[in-house]
Symmetry: C2
Subunit: 540 residues, 2 copies
């Protein structure tokens, strides 16, 4: 026998995967697990609701390559079904770690609280939402089962699920048979060389090349190769909404986010007007392509996915991004190609007037105030769309494809813990804010002095132009007064540019939780959404 | 062709089922559906988060026999997975009505936002959590599919799921082939008569009979028969934690809630010390039986379930509660049995002292203040357990078996709409409160002036005696200050009995949303939990 336990094995693996805390809410079926993880030096940081813990773990995983949300069974686990779905859709390597009734307790199928149809219900739900699952049943198989799920999470870059019956916590378990080295997408070396040769020729023949860089560059850990490729060849890089920060947007070659018709004209022209577009690890979805308005000519495009490289109309199978991008960067570096276009303006100073706020000017103000000390977190809707007019100084996270509202505030907790060098700066609409607003207190409670900017346009403003009705009106609140409820932090309400400018200045100078409400016109919209509207009208 | 649409058919059925509004949050895949339902005079009342809408619909269903939560696809639907699970476990007839991508949009499996693995993921998740499901696909089958799900919801008294692709809203649909009359559990008439005869003999031979009445009495609409049975025979009635209000607890025969070892001694003695216990429609679960501490001698018990009657050790199959209880009430009425014991004290006046608050005295205070104008909603944990020392004046709702924390505040919205004659009075722990606290604003926004009493014991107090650790400590807040964030309502912080008494007096006199924080000892516990602790120690 060994002195390895489920908790000690889990924590060993979590450390190997680079994290030192999880997020979650305890419950009686999970108490021993939380206590044992804590005793192993791996605390689970409490949030106000499980949903928030799920999003915090997701944000941690986006920045660190792995995250853990720990919950109790049923009433805990099923509250993170949506967070798991978000992680699946956006390829986030997150573990859902659930407590559960003991192996012995389950015998005879008694009606224990938190049970649904039977003790397998929760497992079957997560089979639909994760890439690998395990319900631990014995000390002999526990380590191998845990490792199988962790390996799949990292290999597939998707969420996974482990359920630990409470009577197994504390037992000695057999050591694992293998490590958790990921099975990366396989490489056809000959196809890789052929693809590389064709791509290099295409690049040499082009005078205007652009890169569209996506989330899989981050997920597969090849952002350095992207930087090397772009800088040695002087290629401008636009980022996908799921990958902001994969290339520094305030670098002279960083041109910001490309989001189809929502993109500002100069950036759009750099991408769509290029002779050759290298699309690197971009998840091809409606929202990340600006509602499928992205207009990149296939004949001039090279699509590198997690598994294949497609040049024009033909595909090199088993030429995965993780192998191809470093190979391409090396080849280009040795050739010293130098396209280097005129840089687009990056950071823009914001000069406040006494005018009432608009979304556009609010975004400009944030753009002018944030710097390398900040990481951005953008909630779906206007907060995310309008940020296409920003050059983010470091990274920016968001549920940019699955689009789950209420993501941003709790994600600030996970991001703040994952990257303590950056202070989370959240931009969130008022409708999304109230979904998870109290997680602002979780941020402060755990020492993350987030800045939260609430775009208050009196309801679900993004939807009003589609179909309006009473269902778009929500209970009005004064988010800036929440700091009084928390007994922590500072709050501001800004209706003019000057007020916002001043609030941003004070918030950035402060070390506390800061909540700023920007009061916006009910029927206003960002420059980005206006551009989208124009593009769709032109099509119709 | 007809002029029936999906929305008009749904609303026709919803009206037949007795409800005139639903609860939910819109999203682009659900906009047309929400708008069409609204146009048919069936508004969907917005909450701050989908979870809250799920619990509001659940509370509505408990009081009205049906409830609807309406959501958008994915990021909406999966947020109510836990609410659906709660409804399944506690047999609540609630419909999850989800918008979805159009039938045409789904072709070719494009990566549309809110999609998970494929367009069937959400359906498959709800197959695990509901009793019937339909994804509408055509106008020819829509009405019959809707009716099939609604019929199963009412027949089985479980949640169901309907998904409406957005391009079907507005099309003319074929009329339904049948109505939605429920298929009640079948009756073996001969067995029913035999069971009735044996039960009547057992009752005649007993001098001390007691009734334990459960949720299925409500669900099957036979509370009148229960009242007739109890009053004509003079039998004291204890209620299950899932069925409070099924018999009036302040009636001279109402003895309050029976919850195994948590029950106050006089009530427990009346139940466990009886010669004969009629257990009527009680869901037999760990929590509703006081952590399986209920000590009812099977030889002296008659168990009436939704399908069978069990006398001692033998079972009459297909003698369902809905048929048996009225038959028994009629038979007893014609015999005029009159056991009628001395009544137990019901309502107790509360006399406040200057002492600091305890859970026990807080419960006494509420017991002394509430009356027939109030309906109670009790969150799992201390709020629910400690209420075993109350006689609730009307009904009391709670997630008493599945035990999903954060249920009570949003449930107040649903309850307030379902029973406008009663003002919802919520009792909730501080840990559960922060999960859904902002739904207090949803209550006020929709004209439900709930009174919310937060039992603030600085974290997850119910768990501290089991295993304590930092995971039981939460971010402290001042719930009473939320009314300033909402710009609506009144708040109080009470640390002494006098302060609580005064706050309760003012809250009950007020017509606004009221939030009262009762500051309690961190390690205190209710009389009920102390009794449970003693019982478990005595066993060990």
């Amino acid at each position: 026998m060994t002195d390895t336990t489920i908790a000690s094995h889990l924590v060993r693996r979590f450390r190997e995967l680079g994290i030192d805390c999880g997020f979650g809410i305890v419950g009686d079926f999970a108490l021993k697990m939380f206590s044992a993880l804590d005793a192993e030096g791996f605390p689970i940081l409490v949030t106000t609701d499980e949903q928030g813990a799920g999003f915090a773990a997701d944000a941690c995983a986006r920045l660190k390559g792995f995250g853990v949300v720990a919950v109790t069974y049923g009433a805990g686990g099923l509250k993170v079904a949506n967070a798991a779905a978000n992680a699946w859709a956006e390829q986030v390597p997150m573990l859902i770690l659930s407590g559960g009734p003991g192996v012995v307790e389950r015998k005879g199928d008694p009606n224990l609280h938190h049970k649904v149809k039977d003790f397998g219900t929760q497992l079957r739900v997560f089979e639909e939402l994760t890439c690998a699952q395990a319900v631990l049943t014995s000390g002999h198989t526990a380590a191998d089962e845990i490792d199988r799920v962790l390996r799949e999470i990292v290999s597939q870059q998707r969420p996974g699920y482990i359920e630990v019956p409470r009577d197994l916590i504390g037992i000695a378990i057999d050591p694992p048979d293998f490590g958790i080295e990921p099975d990366l997408p396989i490489v056809d070396e000959a196809a890789l060389h052929a693809a590389l040769a064709e791509v290099l020729i295409a690049m040499r023949e082009s005078t205007r090349v652009a890169i569209h860089a996506g989330a899989m560059v981050n997920r597969r850990g090849v952002a350095d190769a992207l930087f090397s490729l772009a800088t040695s060849a002087g290629i401008p890089v636009a980022t996908s909404s799921l990958a902001r920060g994969v290339f520094p947007e305030r670098h002279e070659l960083g041109i910001g986010m490309y989001l189809g018709a929502l993109t500002p004209a100069p950036v759009r022209e750099r991408v769509e007007g290029a002779d050759l577009v290298l699309s690197l690890g971009v998840l091809q979805t409606d929202l990340t392509l600006g509602g499928f308005t992205a207009d990149i000519d296939r004949r001039k495009a090279i699509w590198c996915s997690d598994t294949d490289v497609t040049v024009g109309y033909h595909t090199y199978k088993n030429v995965p991004l993780w192998a191809f991008l470093p190979a391409l960067a090396n080849a280009v570096f040795s050739e010293s190609v130098a396209l280097r276009p005129d840089p687009l303006p990056g950071h823009v100073d914001f000069t406040a007037t006494n005018a009432e706020l608009t979304v556009e000017r609010t975004v400009d103000a944030v753009n002018g105030h944030v710097d390398e000390r900040h990481g951005l977190i953008l909630d779906p809707g206007e907060a995310l769309f309008s940020s296409v007019d920003m050059r983010v100084p470091t990274w920016a996270l968001g549920s940019a494809y699955y689009a789950t509202m209420g993501y941003a505030v709790p994600a600030a907790l996970g991001a703040g813990k994952a990257d303590p060098e950056r202070r989370p700066f959240v931009i969130v609409g008022d409708g999304a804010f109230v979904m998870t607003a109290l997680e602002a207190a979780s941020c402060a409670f755990h020492g993350v002095p987030a800045i939260i900017l609430v775009l208050d346009n009196s309801g679900y403003g993004t939807q009003r132009p589609i179909v309006d009705g009473p269902f778009n009106d929500i209970a009005q609140m004064a988010p800036e007064k929440l700091v009084e409820v928390f007994g922590m932090g500072r709050g501001w309400k800004a209706t003019t540019e000057v007020e916002l400018d001043s609030a941003l200045t004070e918030a950035i100078a402060s070390n506390e939780l800061c909540i700023i409400r920007a009061v916006l016109p009910k029927y206003g919209r960002s420059a980005a959404l206006s551009r989208l509207g124009e593009a769709l009208s032109a099509k119709a």
